[in-house]
Amino acid sequence: MPFDAMSDVSDEALLVLYANGDRAAARALTVRLTPRVLGYATRVLADAAEAEDVAQEAMLRLWRIAPEWRQGEAKVSTWLYRVVANLCTDRLRRRRSAPLEEAEEPVDEARDAARQMQDAARARALSDALASLPERQREAVVLRHLEGMSNPEIAEVMDVSVEAVESLTARGKRALAARLAAQKDALGYEDD
């Protein structure tokens, strides 16, 4: 079955098809879910190579769970975000136990550049600011404001209450704002 013929098929149905031997279903899921998994891992880890490893590992776990997938219990994407969150947490812990490397300074190359460059600089600045947040706040902010998930979904991914998610995102955003305010002039976001 070609990919476009599967665009209306839910993630869960594709996973069941794959478990029953339909390899085209796995390709459709790969194309559909990998960008989301990779984007989330990249934002949490701020490291492209590590994020690729996490994305591949998370998808491998999805292939392995496919035959035992219990339909109707959880959304495939929610389950996958949870796996990515755990894999990222493991890597961040290993990083903390490794010798600290010199942190990269936030780049302010967009000072006099055009809007496109300014956006790139903002994205980079946000990435740096996110990296400075406590791990749980970072996860909550990324899931809420970059992955566009609802608070109940985030609560499921992070295995905490909705109230805890609200608290984590609020504190995370305050910390981000403080961090980014220091670069306000350099990035010129008051000009928008």
Binding site: A48, M59, W63, D119, L126
Partner: protein, 116 residues
């Protein structure tokens, strides 16, 4: 604060990481490898026809259990007869109601001898 942050969030969403073709192919290859492994496991776990042993072959050769039951009954009967048979008597002596009878199988021979 939210409006200011939204500018950053918007810029970050626009700069989404795009998976490389190589990554997509590695992930799809993992899916195929898992499917292959599951198919191999399923084949290995499928029930096989039991192999026939030497005794099963012999049993089939004599006609299966019903035929063997007949053979065993006949054997048991022969065995019992062999054990329970009375002591052999002298030729020509038999018993009936505690009385011994002598059978003369060749009376004409003895008679001819006596008449000589």
């Amino acid at each position: 604060m939210d409006d200011e942050l939204d500018l950053f969030f918007g810029a970050a969403r626009a700069a989404d990481a795009v998976p490389t073709t190589d990554l997509l192919m590695r992930i799809a290859a993992d899916a195929d490898a898992e499917a292959d492994a599951r198919a191999a496991e399923a084949r290995a776990a499928a029930p096989r026809a039991p192999r026939r042993g030497v005794w099963a072959g012999l049993l089939a050769a004599v006609g299966g259990w019903p035929a063997l039951a007949g053979v065993m009954t006949a054997s048991a009967a022969g065995f019992w007869i062999g054990f329970s048979a009375p002591e052999p008597f002298a030729d020509g002596v038999s018993w009936l109601n505690d009385t011994a009878y002598v059978s003369d199988y060749l009376p004409s021979y003895e008679l001819a001898t006596a008449l000589e």
